[in-house]
C-alpha cells in the first residue's frame, strides 16, 4: 500500500480522560494510513496505543483527569514509531512484557495485547521530559 499524501498533523494532544481515547484512536488510524501501513499493522498500532493510553491514565496519572498526554508519530528506517509522553508517575517497569493471561483471568489482558501487537515497546523517563513510551511497528513508508 502506498503512502497517502494528505496533510495529517503528526502531533496530537489529549487529556487524561477516557472520553478522549476514541479521538486518539481515530488520529492514530489517520496517521497509520498517512504512512501507508497495511490495515492490519494500522489496527495493531491503534489497539496497542489504546491500551497504553488507558495505562497512562490509570497508573501514571493515577486516574486524575485533565492532565496532558502528547502523541507524536514518525516514520524512520522502514518503521512507524508512535511516542506517547506523559508527566505522571515514573513508568519504571510498568510496560514490561507480562506472562500470557491465565484462562478466566480478571486482568493482565491490556499489556499482553500491547506487546503482542507491536514489534517493539520502549520506555524512557527523564525528570524534565516525563515518561515517553515508544511503540514501533514495522512497515509503511515516509510521507
Amino acid at each position: 500500500m502506498s503512502a497517502v499524501n494528505s496533510a495529517v498533523d503528526l502531533r496530537f494532544e489529549m487529556r487524561s480522560d477516557a472520553a478522549d481515547l476514541s479521538r486518539a484512536r481515530a488520529w492514530i488510524a489517520r496517521v497509520a494510513e498517512h504512512f501507508g501501513l497495511e490495515p492490519r499493522a494500522g489496527f495493531a498500532l491503534k489497539a496497542a496505543a489504546s491500551e497504553a493510553l488507558s495505562n497512562v491514565i490509570r497508573h501514571s496519572y493515577g486516574g486524575r483527569e485533565g492532565l496532558p498526554i502528547l502523541l507524536n508519530c514518525v516514520h524512520r528506517r522502514g518503521r512507524v514509531l508512535l511516542a506517547i509522553r506523559d508527566y505522571g508517575r515514573k513508568a519504571r517497569g510498568a510496560f514490561r512484557r507480562p506472562r500470557p493471561p491465565a484462562p478466566h483471568a480478571d486482568s493482565a489482558y491490556g499489556l499482553w495485547i500491547l506487546h503482542c501487537l507491536v514489534d517493539r515497546v520502549r520506555v524512557d523517563h527523564t525528570p524534565e521530559e516525563g515518561n515517553i513510551l515508544t511503540l514501533t511497528v514495522n512497515g509503511g513508508e515516509p510521507s
Binding site: 488507558s54 493471561p101 499482553w112
Partner: protein
C-alpha cells in the same frame, strides 16, 4: 444525555440478545457491564451478545465479558458471543479468550447452539 454505548435488547423464547454498537473501551465498558449484568441479575439464563456492531474492544471490554461469563456459569447460565469483526476476533484470539468464551461466527450458529438440548 445519549448513551456512551447504545445497546439494543431483543428478547426471544429462552434467551436474550444484546447488540452493543460502537467502541468498547475503558470509557464505555462500565455501561456495557451494567447492561449485561442487569440481564443476568434479572434472571436471564442465556444471554447472546451480538458483536457485529462493535468496531473496537479493549481489555476493559474483555474483562466485562469474562466477568459475565463467570457469573452466568455460577447460576448454570450461559453467555454466547457471535459475529465479531476481524479486529475484535483478533483481540479475542490474542488473549486466548476465544477458547474460554463461547464464540460463534454468526447469529444463526449461536441460535442453533442455543436450541440444542
Amino acid at each position: 444525555m445519549p448513551a456512551r454505548l447504545p445497546v439494543e435488547v431483543e428478547s426471544l423464547p429462552g434467551c436474550t440478545i444484546l447488540r452493543p454498537a460502537g467502541e468498547i473501551d475503558c470509557h464505555t465498558a462500565p455501561e456495557f457491564r451494567s447492561r449485561l449484568l442487569a440481564q443476568l441479575e434479572g434472571g436471564t439464563a442465556s444471554l447472546l451478545v451480538d458483536l457485529s456492531g462493535v468496531s473496537f474492544i479493549d481489555s476493559s471490554g474483555l474483562r466485562v465479558l469474562v466477568e459475565c461469563h463467570k457469573l452466568a456459569h455460577q447460576s448454570a447460565g450461559r453467555v454466547r458471543l457471535f459475529a465479531p469483526s476481524a479486529e475484535v476476533g483478533e483481540i479475542l484470539r490474542l488473549t486466548r479468550l476465544d477458547s474460554v468464551l463461547e464464540l460463534h461466527p454468526s447469529r444463526d450458529a449461536a441460535l442453533a447452539q442455543e436450541a440444542r438440548p
